[in-house]
């Protein structure tokens, strides 16, 4: 006589749902609460380290959709300087080839994901917009050493349990 034939499965199932009913819900109410992003996230936001850049335009040439517009000039010491660097994110396909092409590793992917804007003009980012700041840290894409600097991978908000 096996218990299986006498509704053991039903009892088990009822127990599972009951256990679920008393644990914390896994729903995150998005605009108010956000999950942490995985440290292995590639990201699709472009950030630019101004100090390391040598204005070589390799990123603009690597771009398959020509969304990076770069204008450079020589200053009085015959050193290249960046006059203009626009990234049209409306055209960008987030392929990451510009990041891979950069000889100085001064272009990175970053992990901001709320990039919707209200007008098309705002899709065109200038060099001020893509500057690397504290809030836009480079992701581990093409530079794995960055990954170790990021917080440990946990989706949970306080690291212990799901948000209520």
């Amino acid at each position: 006589m096996k218990l299986k034939s006498y509704g053991e499965g039903i009892a088990k199932g009822m127990l599972v749902t009951m256990k679920n009913a008393i644990r914390d819900p896994i729903t995150t109410q998005y605009p108010e609460k956000r999950l942490n992003i995985s440290r292995r996230s590639r990201g699709n936001q472009l950030v630019w380290n101004k100090t390391a850049c040598i204005s070589c335009s390799m990123c603009a040439r690597a771009c398959p959709v020509n969304c990076i517009t770069m204008v450079t000039s020589r200053d009085e010491n015959k050193k290249l300087q960046m006059d203009k660097m626009d990234v049209d994110t409306g055209v960008c396909i987030s392929c990451g080839l510009c990041v891979e092409a950069c000889p100085q590793k001064c272009l990175f992917m970053s992990r901001d994901y709320e990039k919707a804007v209200y007008s098309r003009k705002k899709l065109k980012l200038t060099k001020e917009d893509i500057l690397m700041t504290d809030s836009s840290k480079p992701s581990g894409y093409y530079s794995p050493e960055n990954e170790t600097k990021l917080p440990k991978q946990t989706l949970l908000i306080d690291g212990k349990k799901w948000d209520k």
């Binding site: 034939s5 006498y6 199932g13 009822m14 599972v16 679920n20 009913a21 644990r23 914390d24 819900p25």
Partner: protein
Amino acid sequence: MSILGRNVLPLTVHASVLAPDWPWGFWSHMIIFVVIVMAFVILMAMGFIWFERRVISRYQIRIGPNRIGPFGLLQPVADVIKILIKEDIVPLNVDKIIHLLAPAVAIIPAIMVFAVIPFSNGASLVDLNIGILYIVAISSISIVGQVMAGWGSNNKYALISAMRVIAQVVSYEIPLALSIIGVVLFAGTLSMNGIVQQQSIPFILLQPLGFIIYFLASLAEVNRTPFDLLEAEGEIVAGYNIEYSGFKFALFYLTEYTEAIAISTIITTLYLAGWKGPFLPPVLWFLIKVFAVFTLIIWVRATLPRLRIDQVMGFAWKFLLPLAFINLLITGVQVVAWPDLSQWVIVAVNIVLSAVLIVAFSRMFRTKGDKVEA
């Protein structure tokens, strides 16, 4: 009187005592109770929709609607407004009269059931001496509305759904009625209020097998999961109400929840001692029990998958029906042969008997190895 510091209508006063003292006697009583019953049904339906969505989301580790109003309490109100301002589409080739009448035929009997439900001692619209018989008779008429909807819609899915409703409900009506008779035998009355008054210990203890049969059969009767074959989304899209929109659809939706409330209240009355209970006012006890039963129904819905049509039918005819007959026989013997036996002895005997019977019948129910065939 007051509940939790708020003035409420005097539901606790016995209606038959109350009625002659009021101006116009019977009519004032009737008008007031019709209003109370209608308000109860509509408010409880909206409350149950909210409650079900919140509770089932907890079983599924979600939060559920919590944005509109405190705890999302106004969500059903928003749903009602949305559904009522929708366009009422009537497809071209429908049977217009039947298509129009179907929602009314479905909703009216579902609400009529509440006429005999005692919310408190004697507080019902009318305390019929054949109360439970009335409920069994009236609640079946709802099905006619669903069949009319399925037939009148000129839609193959609706028709299949209607056919399933007939097959299922006719099958489950029998164990349902037979399990009620067990209660009636113990109570010695068909009146709903009388049944409650007879329950010095709740009949769920005296009739454990009857309760299980009634619970499962009534789930099938009101087409709730796991017996919701009529709206099997994967097969027949939405069921009999597929061609309905706007107000008519709202009526069908309301019917569904009204029937769920109805079986919750009937189970409360028949098996859980209705309004009886210590300390709290009877109305509150009644509501607490109704919500407890409904939570159990939601729990079943959250857990069990939908059955196949042959499984559903086999379950009714091969499992519930014989058990209902045996339950009736046992109850009859107990009532006739040992009327003076202590009820607690009967409780113990019946709990053991029902466990043995369920195990034995699940043994018979399966056929090949561990596979349940029907």
